[in-house]
């Protein structure tokens, strides 16, 4: 019943969230999970005009489970091409075991 899948994690400026989700779906992922997140990094651009005093979670964390490594790599490659140059974003991946008999 269990299957080995890949979990791709993307942490980026909230402003990209809609575009990233579109990209992920277009690439053929069966789904995604998002969290509001905060953080700092090498560039740490606060790109919304919203008061950071109130709006502390200016990042979004997107997790995508993919059945194949290829799909994950495709998504990363596209994100890299489009956004790494100008936006605050990181991605990483690791294998997990999906316990539900669920198409990924």
């Amino acid at each position: 019943m269990s299957q080995q899948v890949w979990k791709l994690v993307i942490v980026a400026e909230e402003i990209l969230s809609k575009k990233l989700i579109k990209l992920i779906k277009a690439a053929g992922a069966t789904g995604y999970t998002v969290n509001a997140a905060g953080g700092e990094g090498s560039r740490n651009v606060r790109s919304t005009g919203e008061p950071s005093v109130s709006h502390t979670l200016a990042n979004v964390k997107i997790e995508v489970l993919t059945g194949t490594r290829e799909l994950a790599d495709t998504i990363t490659r596209e994100i890299e091409a489009k956004y790494y140059a100008d936006f605050s974003i990181i991605t990483y991946i690791y294998p997990v075991e999906a316990l539900r008999d669920h198409k990924f």
């Binding site: 790109s47 008061p51 109130s54 709006h55 100008d86």
Partner: protein
């Protein structure tokens, strides 16, 4: 006296030629200033300003105080709805044609501001053209909070203004953002040499109109024109306006203090630009407003609104649009400049300044 000789020495000295006229103005200036200063100082004591400064101090002292994001969002929505409703209700019994010239002036100013930034800030050492354009776009765009701040102060000062003048917001906001993004893309594709893929203008306009700020304002205008919202307006939007505004001022102040650190990290030219340009933009728009005043009887209060809209720099709708439209520009630079210096200058200096001038003119 007519505003005829007032206008030049305030907004367009370049027009001045003959030396007698000049002497006369010299003289006039003295009396003008002596009338103006006390009024200006009085304006500085307005609670609005007090709350803004309060916010700055609180944040500067490192307080834990934080107004939740959802409250901030609701207040922005509330204030712009209220401004829109006021305008919409007024438009019902007013001639929409009147808005044409002022709206034209707003568009003009919005576009010009971007080019000013391009050829002043953009020429400074170590300032990239995209950064300059993004900054110009943000300062050309409009701040809902600043707009919300000037109206009650005009009321307190008993200076009449066209109720629809708040509806000038999008007419300056959108052209400024569009111009900045278009010019930047053209510049970048030129630079990168390869044939520029045309920039789509419509998506940018669409995004600006769909921004929560512009939507709230237009929704209010529409409801004001099409429905009879008086009961809700009088029991809710009108009485609570000043209160929510004062809280927004605290938030804006706290934010300004916060963003200061960010601004420090970028070239100081941004800070200098952020301090001077609101006043400059204000005078530019005020001058145009006075000209329209001469032509069509557009009120002096309306000219003040136009001036403050020009002096303000966008805090809600602008940043995301520019971030998406000019990704290579550094948001810390333009948002920092706008939030940490631009908005405080617009509220603390430009509003009292132009209201003071208007009071003198109306008095004379």
């Amino acid at each position: 006296m007519t505003y005829g000789c007032d206008c030049p020495d305030i907004a367009c000295p370049s027009l001045l030629t003959s030396s007698d006229q000049f002497k006369e103005l010299q003289l006039h200036n003295v009396t003008f200033l002596s009338d103006f200063l006390p009024l200006f100082l009085k304006q500085l004591q307005s609670p609005t300003l007090g709350f803004l400064i309060g916010g700055i101090v609180v944040a500067a002292l490192g307080s834990q105080l934080a107004i939740p994001d959802s409250i901030y969002k609701f207040i922005s929505f509330f204030l712009l709805m209220k401004i829109g409703l006021t305008g919409g209700i007024a438009i019902r019994n007013s001639n929409p044609a009147e808005i044409f010239l002022p709206a034209l002036a707003a568009v003009l100013v919005g576009i010009v501001i971007v080019f000013i930034a391009r050829y002043t800030l953009g020429k400074m050492p170590g300032i990239s053209v995209p950064d300059a354009l993004a900054t110009g776009g943000l300062f050309g765009a409009v701040s809902g909070s600043t707009l919300a701040a000037v109206l009650p102060q005009l009321d307190s000062a008993k200076i009449p203004y066209e109720a629809w003048s708040a509806a000038l917001y999008p007419f300056m906001d959108i052209p400024a953002l569009v111009t900045a993004i278009v010019v930047a893309s053209v510049y970048l594709s030129k630079k990168s040499g390869h044939t520029s893929e045309k920039v789509e203008i419509w998506p940018i306009i669409k995004e600006s109109i769909q921004s929560s700020a512009v939507t709230s304002l237009l929704l209010g205008v529409a409801l004001g024109i099409l429905t009879k919202p008086e009961p809700v307006y009088e029991s809710f939007f009108d009485p609570l306006f000043r209160g929510f505004l004062s809280i927004l001022m605290i938030i804006m102040g706290m934010e300004a203090a916060q963003r200061m650190n960010e601004l420090r990290k970028v070239a100081q030219w941004f800070a200098i630009y952020a301090f001077i340009s609101p006043i400059l933009h204000g005078f530019l728009a005020f001058g145009l407003g006075l000209i329209i005043h001469k032509i069509t009887g557009f009120s002096i209060g309306g000219a003040v609104v136009l001036a403050v809209i020009a002096a303000s720099s966008s805090d809600i709708s602008g940043p995301p649009t520019l971030r998406a439209g000019i990704p290579s520009a550094n948001p810390s630079a333009y948002i920092g400049a706008s939030t940490a210096i631009g908005t405080p200058v617009a509220i603390a200096i430009c509003i009292p300044l132009f209201i003071g001038i208007a009071e003198v003119m109306l008095a004379q």
